[in-house]
Amino acid sequence: MGVFMGLLEELRELGVNTDEGVQRLMGNASLYERMLGTFTKLMNETSIEIEEFDRDDCTELIEKTHALKGASGNLSVTPVYDAYTEIVNLLRRGNPGEAKALFEKVLPIQTEIVQCIERHK
């Protein structure tokens, strides 16, 4: 489907609230698209390994997931934002097991969104 659709349209199909994201940037859609590029860079740089959820000290993991939560929230990448909001909460409450399960669940959606943005670069 993606080949003939625009980036924002395609992301909307994936659950990203693009209208809200553009509005947050004072209606500047091209800046929003540029920021999505920065978002994929951040996602790729902030690599989270599944094993990190099994460590005793989750401080670094909380920092990483917190950063992803903030960035995805501000760009209204809703599926990622919702998942990371819950992951951060679970980690803070000392429940890495459930956080890990949620991370595994969001990973394919997250990958799909990142790939979609990269395809349109």
């Binding site: 509005q23 947050r24 940037l25 004072m26 920021m35 960035a71 929230g73």
Partner: protein, 351 residues
């Protein structure tokens, strides 16, 4: 562009900085810092930053640490700091408020709402800072006016008595040094720098009553007779009478110090001074300090009735009680700053 107010955005995530920048760039010049340390460097002495948008969780130096440092430097008084947070720890936010943050920006940002809130606070701070500047300017102007009036009165004495004219100016600087030393050494006599400055300025008027002393007594080359000395002693009370007639031209604090110094700078610790025969700490500490400064300067200056004593001789005469008894603590402080007093006194006499 250069007239635009500045906003400093501090966030380690570029996306957040860009979004905030986009919201405010139309109305403000945007400064960006990616961590706390960089933010503090940018704030430095920049007086033109109108607001700081500060992320709480950052590597290197987090938002609270930045805020703590800004608070220590008194910056939070001058510029509003907004904490950026994804609704994390209530404890952190509370600490942020205690450290001087004005408000909290929650992520994800809501552009229009955010713009209004921050602009309103910036405007309020702007008004407040401007009002403070105006008040400061007026206080300065008033203080300068007070100084001119005091100096004008001192000049009146100069016309009557060439010695006293220079003497009163030297007394002011010696009083400042000695009062500062007494305040530093003794808790019970501790005073702020501002009060010490007022006392030093008030000391200029300690001899204002001498305008009423007849010429033949004021400038008599020899020793005064008992009757003449009684008339001379009246300068303390006469000085107060003069000040009573002009209370409205001086600031209240300055007037009170001047009046007290004028009346009591010849009182002595053992009660053998004049005009009221006060003793001990019934004599205000500032009047006691001016007494020592007055005696020291009189001894080390040439007068129509005597040659100038050397600094060493004057110190000896003051400490061994030849010029009356002084508070031992004031003498102790006098001893501690004697070199500074000597240097200042010599410099004053040279100029």
């Amino acid at each position: 562009m250069q007239n635009k107010k500045k906003i400093l955005i501090v966030d380690d995530i570029e996306i957040n900085r860009v979004i905030l920048s986009e919201i405010f760039k139309e109305d403000y010049e945007i400064l960006e810092a990616a961590d706390g340390r960089q933010a503090l460097e940018m704030i430095g002495d920049d007086q033109n930053i109108s607001a700081v948008l500060l992320d709480l969780l950052m590597p290197e130096m987090n938002g609270l640490e930045v805020l703590r440092e800004m608070n220590r430097q008194g910056k939070t008084e001058m510029m509003p700091v907004f904490l950026i947070t994804a609704a994390d720890s209530e404890q952190m936010l509370l600490e942020g408020y205690h450290l001087g943050a004005v408000d909290v920006i929650r992520k994800p940002f809501l552009a229009h709402f955010l713009k209004c809130r921050i602009s309103n606070v910036i405007e309020l701070y702007g008004h407040r800072n401007e009002l403070e500047r105006i008040v400061e300017e007026q206080v300065d102007r008033l203080s300068n006016l007070n100084r001119s009036l005091v100096e004008t009165l001192a000049t009146v004495i100069e016309f009557r008595d060439g010695e006293s004219g220079e003497h009163v100016k030297r007394i002011s600087s010696l009083t400042k040094i000695l009062m500062g030393q007494v305040s530093k050494m003794y808790q019970e006599y501790r005073m702020s720098k501002e009060e010490i400055d007022k006392i030093a300025m008030s000391s200029i008027l300690h001899d204002v009553g001498k305008v009423s002393t007849p010429d033949q007594i004021l400038n008599k080359p020899g020793k005064l007779t008992k009757e003449e000395f009684e008339i001379m002693k009246q300068h303390t009370v006469k000085g107060c009478e003069i000040l009573c007639k002009i209370p409205h031209i001086m600031e209240k604090g300055l007037y009170d110090y001047s009046y007290d110094i004028c009346r009591h700078h010849h009182e002595r610790w053992d009660g053998r001074g004049y005009p009221d025969g006060l003793s001990g700490d019934d004599i205000s500490i500032w009047a006691q300090v001016v007494s020592v400064a007055d005696v020291y300067d009189a001894l080390t200056s040439e007068r129509v009735y005597k040659k100038a004593f050397s600094h060493e001789k004057a110190v000896q005469m003051i400490t061994n009680g030849e010029c009356g008894t002084f508070n031992p603590k004031v003498l102790e402080a006098f001893g501690a700053c004697i070199e500074k007093i000597e240097r200042k006194s010599r410099k004053n006499k040279e100029t």
